[in-house]
C-alpha cells in the first residue's frame, strides 16, 4: 500500500499556446509522496529515467519542491536531452543513490564532508544541469542502440523524435515504451553526445509548472497532509528559553484521561501529547500545566545583545578578513574628513506558511519518515543519531514543502516526532502550532556594521574600513567552514557583500567579530548578503549623495572595470527609464550586487531600481525593476517567479521582520507581531533577464539583497533621511499603493 496519497491529475486546455509542446500539451502528473510505489512495471534506464511499456516516461527529481520549481525545471532538462514528449512525462521524487548527491561547499570537500542530497543555496540548477543533460543523452543513446539491435541497423541511421526512435531511411519507428525493456539491459555510454544548444527544444522555454494543478485544487500533499494507517497526532510544548528544560508537569494525570489522549511524552526540553486527532492533542497540551526551567540563557535580551553589538563596533577585537592597500593609515591620517555610518539588522524568523511537522513510524525493521524535508541527508543522519539507528534504516518520503527558505533543512522537528513516535510504537504526526514554530525557529542571525571612508577629490571612495559583528552562523552550525587565520577565525557569511564587493576601492580593510549567543541559527534565503549588501550599498548611496553625483552614474564609475556588472546595472536603469524625470511624488533608488554561490559555485549579477511614491500617509514601494544575469536560463517563467517572490520576501525583511528577546525567549509568536508583506504592499515587478552565454547560475536567493539598500537610497534621495536599521520604521512606510 502506498503510505501517502499519490496524485493523478490531468491538465488539458487552458495553457498558453507559446510553450514548448503546443497548445494541446497535456501533462498527466503524479508526484508521489514516497520514493517508491507499487505502480506499473517500469524499466530503469539511468538513475534518473525510467520508462514504462505504455510509453510513460518517469523522470526522477532529487531536489525537494519548496516552491522554487525544481519539479518542473530539472525534469525539463532531462526531457530535452532524452527527446521525450512532455505530455507523456511524470515526475517523481527520488532518493537513495549517489547520483542525487551534490558537493555543497568547496571547503566541505577539503574537510572530508561527503556530498549530500539536499536543496539549498540556490545550487540545484547550477550543480545538476550538466549531470541531467548527460543522463538524458545516455538514455536516448541506449534507446537508439536498442532500436538498432532490433532492426539490425547502424546507429548512424537512427534518430529520435518525441518519444520515438526513428529509422531515418525507411521512416520506421519504435516508441521508447517498446524499447525500454531492452534499453535497460544495455551499458550506458559514459560520454554521450549532448545536444548543441541550438537544438534545445525545452531548455530555455517557459514550461508551465507541473505542480500548479495539484496546488490549485487541494490535492497536493504537504507534510501536514500526510495520513498513514494507524496514525496518531501529537502536539508539543517546547521550553520557551533556548537553554530551558522541563520542570514540573501539574496536570499529567487529568490530561491522560482526556478524550482521545493516548500518551504524554516528556523530552528533555519539551512535552508532547499524543492523541487520536491533532485538535485533541493541542487541547491536552494546553491543559498540561508545564513549568519550565529557564537555564543559563534565561537572561538573554535584545537590550543585552544591542549592548554587546555596540561594544564590539567600538572596540578593537576584529579578525582581519582582507586588507588591500593602506586603508587604516589613510583613515588615520585624514581622521577629520572620515565619513562614518553604522548599520544593524536583527535576528529574523523563516516563518514558512506550513508550520514544521513530520510523521514518523519507528519499527524494528526501519524508521519511516514522511514530511516536508529540505535536506534528505541531514534528516536521515539526525534521525538515525537520535534513535541510535543506522542512517540507511531511515526511509524518507519527501512531500511538498509549504515554504522553507532554509528552515526545513534542520530536522529538529523530525527528531522530536521520531522520539515521540518511538515511545508510542505507532506512526505519529507531530505538528507545531504557529507559536511553537516561530518561537523555536533556527533564526537568521543578527549583524551590525561600522563603515568609515575617506573619499577622493571627486567624492569616490579612496579608503574604506568595514567592521562587521554579529552572532556567527558558521561558528554556530558549520565551524569547519570558518576561515582560520593567525588572528582567529572569520565567517564568510558575516562579511558577504563586503569583502567580495565589486566596486573599485583602492584601499579596503574588512574585519569581523563574532558575538556568541545562545540563539539557534541556520541559513535563511540569501544568508549574510541581506545584511552585508544593505550595509555596503546604503553606504555607497550615501557617498554618492554627499558627492552630489547621480546614484546610477556613481556606481557606473566604480564598476567600469567589470563589463558583466555594468551590463545588468545598465539594463535595470534602462528598463526603469532612470534618466527620465519622475513625477514630484516619486523617487528612485538603485542597488547592485554580485551574489556569489557558496564555495564560489556561481556568480549572479543583480541590479534593481526601486520606485517609491510619497503619499500623505508615508512612502509606498510602487515598482521594482530587476535585471539579472543568471547565465543560461532553463525556464524563464520560473526565474521570473523567483524574482517576483524574492523581491516581496525581501520587502518583508526590509519593512517588517524583527525577532526580539526578553528573559531568554523570543517575544514574537504569530503573524500579528511578526507581520508579512500583504497584497496591498506588493509593488509592480519588472524582470529583465540579461542574455548570457554562461552556464546556469543561481537564482533563488539572489534578488533579495539589493532591495533594502535601493529602498534606503530612494528615501535618502527624497527626504535626506538616513535609514540604518532593518526593519525600516513602519511609520515611514504607511503609504497605500496607488
Amino acid at each position: 500500500m502506498a503510505p501517502a496519497r499519490d496524485e493523478g491529475i490531468s491538465r488539458r486546455g487552458f495553457l498558453r499556446g507559446s510553450i514548448v509542446a503546443g497548445a494541446s500539451l497535456t501533462v498527466p502528473l503524479f508526484v508521489t509522496a514516497c520514493a517508491r510505489d507499487g505502480g506499473a512495471a517500469e524499466y530503469a534506464i539511468t538513475d534518473w529515467i525510467s520508462i514504462q511499456p505504455s510509453g510513460t516516461i518517469v523522470l526522477g527529481v532529487s531536489q525537494p519542491e519548496l516552491g522554487q520549481g525544481s519539479y518542473t525545471a530539472l525534469p525539463q532538462i532531462l526531457a530535452d536531452e532524452l527527446d521525450a514528449d512532455w505530455k507523456n512525462v511524470v515526475v517523481r521524487f527520488v532518493s537513495g543513490k549517489d547520483a542525487y548527491r551534490i558537493a555543497f561547499h568547496a571547503s566541505g570537500l577539503h574537510d572530508g564532508t561527503p556530498p549530500i542530497q539536499t536543496e539549498g543555496a540556490s545550487m540545484s540548477t547550477t550543480k545538476l544541469t550538466h549531470r541531467l543533460r548527460v543522463a538524458g543523452a545516455q538514455a536516448r543513446d541506449a534507446l537508439i542502440r536498442a532500436a538498432c539491435l532490433r532492426w539490425g541497423h547502424a546507429e548512424a541511421d537512427c534518430s529520435t523524435h518525441l518519444g520515438f526512435v526513428v529509422d531515418t531511411k525507411s521512416g520506421k519507428r519504435l516508441s521508447y515504451g517498446e524499447l525500454a525493456g531492452s534499453a535497460a539491459k544495455l551499458p550506458l555510454d559514459p560520454y554521450p553526445t549532448l545536444k548543441p544548444p541550438a537544438q534545445f527544444r525545452m531548455i530555455g522555454e517557459s514550461v508551465h509548472r507541473v505542480d500548479a494543478p495539484a496546488k490549485c485544487n487541494g490535492s497536493a500533499v504537504f507534510g501536514i497532509d500526510v495520513v498513514v494507517p494507524d496514525m496518531l497526532n501529537a502536539a508539543i510544548r517546547i521550553a520557551p528559553t533556548f537553554t530551558g528544560a522541563v520542570g514540573r508537569v501539574h496536570n499529567e494525570e487529568a490530561v491522560a484521561r482526556m478524550a482521545g489522549v493516548h500518551r504524554v511524552v516528556k523530552l528533555p526540553n519539551a512535552v508532547a501529547v499524543v492523541a487520536d486527532k491533532f485538535w485533541q492533542a493541542k487541547r491536552a497540551v494546553d491543559a498540561l500545566g508545564v513549568e519550565f526551567v529557564a537555564g543559563p540563557g534565561g537572561d538573554l535580551s535584545t537590550a543585552k545583545i544591542d549592548a554587546l553589538v555596540q561594544r564590539a563596533l567600538d572596540g578593537d577585537a576584529g579578525v582581519m578578513v582582507m586588507n588591500q592597500g593602506d586603508a587604516r593609515d589613510i583613515l588615520a591620517q585624514r581622521a577629520r574628513s572620515v565619513i562614518e555610518r553604522r548599520f544593524q539588522v536583527p535576528h529574523i524568523a523563516h516563518a514558512p506558511m506550513e508550520p514544521v511537522n513530520a510523521t514518523v513510524h519507528v519499527r524494528d525493521d526501519a524508521v519511516e519518515v514522511w514530511g516536508p524535508i529540505q535536506s534528505v541527508t541531514a534528516c536521515e543522519t539526525e534521525v538515525a543519531r537520535a534513535l541510535g539507528r543506522r542512517a540507511d534504516e531511515v526511509r524518507l518520503h519527501v512531500t511538498y514543502l509549504g515554504g522553507s527558505f532554509g528552515r526545513k533543512i534542520v530536522p529538529d522537528f523530525v527528531v522530536q516526532a521520531a522520539l515521540v513516535a518511538k515511545e508510542v510504537g505507532r506512526p505519529v504526526k507531530l505538528l507545531r502550532t504557529r507559536e511553537e514554530d516561530m518561537q523555536h525557529d533556527v533564526y537568521r542571525t543578527n549583524a551590525a556594521c561600522r563603515l568609515r571612508a575617506v573619499v577622493d577629490e571627486r567624492g569616490y571612495p579612496l579608503a574604506v574600513h568595514a567592521r562587521v559583528c554579529g552572532q556567527s552562523l558558521f561558528a554556530a552550525v558549520r565551524p569547519s567552514w570558518l576561515t582560520r587565520t593567525s588572528e582567529g577565525a572569520w565567517d564568510e557569511s558575516m562579511v558577504d557583500g563586503l569583502y567580495n564587493q565589486e566596486y573599485r576601492v583602492p584601499n579596503f580593510f574588512v574585519e569581523a567579530i563574532d558575538i556568541p549567543l545562545p540563539v539557534p541559527l541556520y541559513f535563511m534565503r540569501s544568508v549574510g548578503s541581506t545584511a552585508g549588501v544593505f550595509f555596503w550599498e546604503s553606504f555607497i548611496a550615501d557617498l554618492a549623495y554627499r558627492a552630489k553625483i547621480d546614484q546610477y552614474r556613481y556606481r557606473r564609475e566604480l564598476l567600469a572595470h567589470d563589463p558583466a556588472a555594468m551590463k545588468v546595472l545598465d539594463a535595470a536603469a534602462a528598463a526603469a527609464q532612470w534618466g527620465r524625470p519622475t513625477p514630484p511624488n516619486v523617487t528612485r533608488g538603485i542597488a547592485y550586487n554580485c551574489y556569489v554561490g557558496r564555495g564560489g559555485a556561481f556568480r549572479t549579477h543583480v541590479a534593481e531600481v526601486v520606485e517609491l511614491e510619497r503619499t500623505p500617509a508615508g512612502f509606498a514601494v510602487r515598482k521594482v525593476v530587476c535585471a539579472v544575469d543568471a547565465g543560461l536560463v532553463i525556464n524563464p517563467n520560473l526565474v521570473k517567479a523567483q524574482i517576483e517572490g524574492g523581491i516581496g520576501f525581501a520587502l518583508t525583511n526590509t519593512l517588517k521582520s524583527r525577532i526580539t528577546f526578553s528573559n531568554g525567549r523570543v517575544d514574537q509568536a504569530n503573524f500579528p507581531d511578526y507581520p508579512l508583506l500583504a497584497m496591498s504592499e506588493m509593488p509592480q515587478i519588472v524582470s529583465v533577464l540579461v542574455d548570457s552565454d554562461r552556464p546556469p547560475q543561481g537564482v533563488g536567493e539572489v534578488v533579495l539583497a539589493p532591495v533594502a539598500p535601493a529602498v534606503a537610497g530612494a528615501v535618502l534621495q527624497s527626504t535626506a533621511t538616513r535609514l540604518d536599521r532593518m526593519p525600516f520604521p513602519a511609520e515611514l512606510f504607511a503609504g497605500v499603493r496607488l
Binding site: 487552458f14 490549485c216 486527532k277 515554504g403 517567479a641
Partner: protein, 152 residues
C-alpha cells in the same frame, strides 16, 4: 455532541464537541486536507472556506457555528479544476510553494462574486490572505484574468 452540516454539497455529521474549529473537523474527520492550517488565529487566511457563500477563516470558526449550513472547501470549488479562478491560477503559474493557495483561491472566488470587475484598490482592500512566497504580483494578474470570465 453532534453537528450536522453540508460539506461540498454532501450531508455530513461531526460527532464531537461543537467548539472544535471547523478546520480540524474537515481536515481530520472528513479527510479534506486541501484547507490548510497556517496561524490558528485567523491572521493568514490559509484555512479560508465558504460558509453559505461567505468567506470564513475556519481555524477560529467553531464547528457548532455551521450547524445546518453549506460549507464549501477547495475540493468542492470545482470538479475538474475549471473554476475561473483556478484556471487563471494555472495559466499564470501563480503557486510557488502553494501552501496558501487553496485559501487564497477560495478567498478570491468569493471576492470576485462581490467585485466582478475589481480595481487594484479593490484587490488591495479585499484580498488580505498572506503568501510567504509573495506571489502577490501573479495573484493580482490572475484576479484580473479571472474577472473577465464568469464566476460559477
Amino acid at each position: 455532541m453532534s453537528v450536522p452540516f453540508f460539506v461540498n454539497g454532501e450531508s455530513r455529521e461531526f460527532d464531537g464537541p461543537d467548539d472544535v474549529p471547523l478546520l480540524w473537523v474537515i481536515r481530520e474527520h472528513f479527510g479534506l486536507t486541501g484547507t490548510k492550517f497556517g496561524c490558528g488565529i485567523a491572521a493568514c487566511g490559509a484555512c479560508t472556506v465558504h460558509v453559505d457563500g461567505q468567506q470564513a477563516r475556519s481555524c477560529v470558526l467553531p464547528v457548532g457555528a455551521v450547524r445546518g449550513k453549506q460549507v464549501t472547501t477547495i475540493e468542492g470549488l470545482s470538479k475538474a479544476l475549471d473554476h475561473p479562478v483556478q484556471r487563471a491560477w494555472i495559466a499564470l503559474d501563480v503557486p510557488q510553494c502553494g501552501y496558501c493557495q487553496p485559501g487564497m483561491i477560495m478567498a478570491v472566488a468569493q471576492f470576485l462574486r462581490e467585485h466582478p470587475a475589481p480595481t487594484d484598490d479593490d484587490i488591495d482592500a479585499g484580498v488580505t490572505n498572506l503568501c510567504r512566497c509573495a506571489t502577490y504580483a501573479r495573484i493580482r494578474a490572475a484576479i484580473h484574468a479571472a474577472a473577465g470570465r464568469k464566476i460559477g
